[in-house]
Structures are given as C-alpha cells and as structure tokens.
Symmetry: D2
Subunit: 136 residues, 4 copies
Amino acid sequence: MPSFVHEFRVSWVDTDALGVVHFSNYFRYFEKAEQEFFEHSGSTQGNVMERYGVACPRVEAHCFYESPLRFGDTAATQLWLEQVNDKSVKIRFEITNRTAGRRAAHGTMTLVCVDSSAWKAVSIPEPVRAILRELD
Amino acid sequence: MPSFVHEFRVSWVDTDALGVVHFSNYFRYFEKAEQEFFEHSGSTQGNVMERYGVACPRVEAHCFYESPLRFGDTAATQLWLEQVNDKSVKIRFEITNRTAGRRAAHGTMTLVCVDSSAWKAVSIPEPVRAILRELD
Amino acid sequence: MPSFVHEFRVSWVDTDALGVVHFSNYFRYFEKAEQEFFEHSGSTQGNVMERYGVACPRVEAHCFYESPLRFGDTAATQLWLEQVNDKSVKIRFEITNRTAGRRAAHGTMTLVCVDSSAWKAVSIPEPVRAILRELD
Amino acid sequence: MPSFVHEFRVSWVDTDALGVVHFSNYFRYFEKAEQEFFEHSGSTQGNVMERYGVACPRVEAHCFYESPLRFGDTAATQLWLEQVNDKSVKIRFEITNRTAGRRAAHGTMTLVCVDSSAWKAVSIPEPVRAILRELD
C-alpha cells in the first residue's frame, strides 16, 4: 500500500470568522490521518507508545494552503512516507476537498522518536518501522 | 427513530497533560454528533442555515463528567430531543466510552434559532422541526 | 478579595463561521481565569498538582450564553467561590464583553480533587483551600 | 521598531497527553502575536479587514520545534517582517520559553491579502503596509 487515505467531514468548531477552516487545524487533520493509519494497520499509536516507551513529537511541520475548506465539506487526507531515518520519519500529506473537487492543502511533518521518560532521540522500534513501511 | 448515535475515536489533540480528554472538548463532541445527525437526515446544517437564513447559537450548555476518555478510545455520542419550543430546542447527550465499557459524560444543550443577519430569535423553520422530530 | 478578574482579548482562532466565539471556548476562558487566579495568588496550579499529587478534573460545567463575543473584543472573566466542600469546589464565572459593554456569559464549574495516580477523590489540601478562600 | 514581542502563559488546554504543548498550538501562538502587534500599533486586524474589505489567509505556515513548552510556562513570541511583496507578506517568528530559558520554536507564515468577498489576491492596502513596516 503506497499511501493511506482518511476521510472526514469538516466540523463547525474548525471554522473561523472568515467562514473557512482555521489554518492551524490542517495540522490536526494531518495528525488525525496518522492516527487512523496506525489504527488501520492493526496497531494504535497509544499502544505503540506504551509498549516501547517512546513518543513521537514533531520537530518540523509545514503546510501549503491551496483552497479553503468550509463547514460540512467532505475531505480526505492522504499520507505517504517521504523519508525514514534511524530516529526520525518524514511524512507527506495532501488534503483534498471532495465537496469542492480540488486540493485544499499539502505539507509535511517530521517526527522524531524519543524515549518518553528521558525525552532523548532513540531508534524507531522495528515494529513501528514495519508499520510505516506500509506507506512506502 | 428515538435517538441518534455518532461513533468516533478520541484524537490526540483532544487530550491534556493529565492524559485525558479536556473537559471543553465534550461540548465539541456533542456538537459533532448534532452535525452528523443532520447529515444522516439527508440535510446539512450548513444548507439549512443558508436556505432559511437562520443560525442556531447555544444559549445554554451543561455537562456532567463521569469517567475519563483517553487517546484512541472508541466512543459514541447519543442524542435525544429533550424539548422543542417555537424558537428553541433542548437536546440531551450521552457519551459512552466503548473501549472502557462505561458512560463518560452526559449533558444538554439548548439552541435558539436566530435570524442570522439580525441575530434575533425566530421560529424554527418547519423543515428543521421535521428533522428534529426524528429524535423524538 | 471577594472575586478575581482576568482580562483578555478574543483571539481569531476562537471564532467560528458565524463570526462569534465558539460556545466551547467560554469554558476555556473560565479555566484560563482559574489559572491566572492561582498565578496571582503566588502559586501555580502546576506546582500545586505536583507538590500534593493531586489533580482537579471537572465533574460539572455549565454555561449560559447572553451575548456574543467577537474577534478582538476585550473581555473580562470574573470568578467567585460558590461553594467549597471537603473534596470538591464549585466556582462561579461571569464574562463581560468590555468592548460591547454587556455581559457575554455566566456559568459554574465544579472541580473535584483527585489523587493523580489513583484518580480517587481526596480532601483538598489545606494550602489549596487557603488559596481558594481568597475568593470567598 | 525592528521586531515585536508578545508575552503569554501556557494554558492547560494547550497541552496534550505527553504533558507538552500540542504542536498545532504554536501556530496559534504565532497568530496571537500578530494580533497583538496590530493592537499595539493602534490598529486592529478586525478594523483593517472591515475598512479595506480584505482578509489575510495564510498560504504557507512552517514551524521548527526545538524544546517543549509546558503548562504554566511563561513564553514570548517575537516576530519580524521577513519579506513584503505587493500582495503577500512573510513573517518570521520565534517562541522563547522564558521559564526554561531556551528557545522553544521558530517558523514563518506567509499571508496573502485577498478581497474578502471575491477571495482574490489584491495589493496590501497602504495603511496596512505602513503598520507592517514597523517590523522592518
């Protein structure tokens, strides 16, 4: 599977006084798709974090906004593995506004794997790496 | 149909530093279930608002918290029509944590129908009332 | 001091597509005023929680909405101690829209003191009680 | 004035289950500093938008995370004008965690000036440009 798609409907609370989704929420959509990808892979990020004692804070987040999303729009976030290193992974995202029939945004997020108590970068556990490879 | 159920999975961003869903987000879950109820009824709140020139601000929101929701938990929001008046409607909500097998919260929200330009209370349009009756 | 006042300016992200502050954010304003009250009292909720191993989840939150808040409005949240019991405390809030010169909302929140590891209700530590009495 | 600084205290709702500020909230801190800069300049973004019929959606947002922010931390967002074009402006941000004494994040946001009804890019109104030059 070269990519994963997560469909959702834009919530009212995501909009702002211009009548469009607030730009910060696109990053939340990116993250939500990530969560659903892990669920889809039969694992969950929560379990992964507990079992291996790791967490995955972002070290970089980048988004290009192409067209607005509005309340009630049906949208889909697609994600790909852009690059995987020993301790970090870069994921590429695209959000398509299916109601409007055009791309809404694209971007990347780089996550680093850290020991959740010491908050030090560590190697991505092999089972997590295996899940990520489904996106490659 | 006496009630409507909306299933969802708790997002990471909904949690706070205690490891549980922030109390304010339960109100967002209530509202999300409302949106999905309208979608399910073949209408959308966005269309209703546009077509009739009305909006539905809340005049009261109330929630009792019974047990925490955590990241990744599967939950379900159920809603019932508690009372419908000429210009307002009171909806009752319950959120069940399906992962933990217990109720997480319950509450009510009272919405008043207003003319979206004058922001004055007006009668609930009959087609909206018809949709709401599906919850009765 | 019979009450505490926290002034703030409405952020863009707090608004929704109706051009007003989303109703769920009023609860966040309530909580923010609580935090600033503790700061003002020379303590911090974070320190209190760490030192005494307690947390203060809400068991009830209630808000009545009276008039909208809009982007850039200056507002003030005032809080009073409504009732303090052995293990719980009820705080009353009012938000005034200073830009519009009228009350925006009022409500209450009931917090229960829990042991943060066992998540069981415990007596409010005396030093926390002393801080709360400043609101009485 | 070559830059503008906005001080704030991290709110509880901004944290996530790792005990740190959720990465998406840094973009909200960036935007908040922008709002406070306009207020400081004797104008307000709301008035600017109304008077000139323009809005300023973001076309790009980018953040590098350097160290975590935690509940109650005092922080400061500093902003500079990175580049101003006819229809767009790029602003550079840095957030310093004053409690921890280190930089928390830095990034940029590019805003484009659009006609708020037609949603088409237009020249930045001269009075807005004058305000922005205070950051240069």
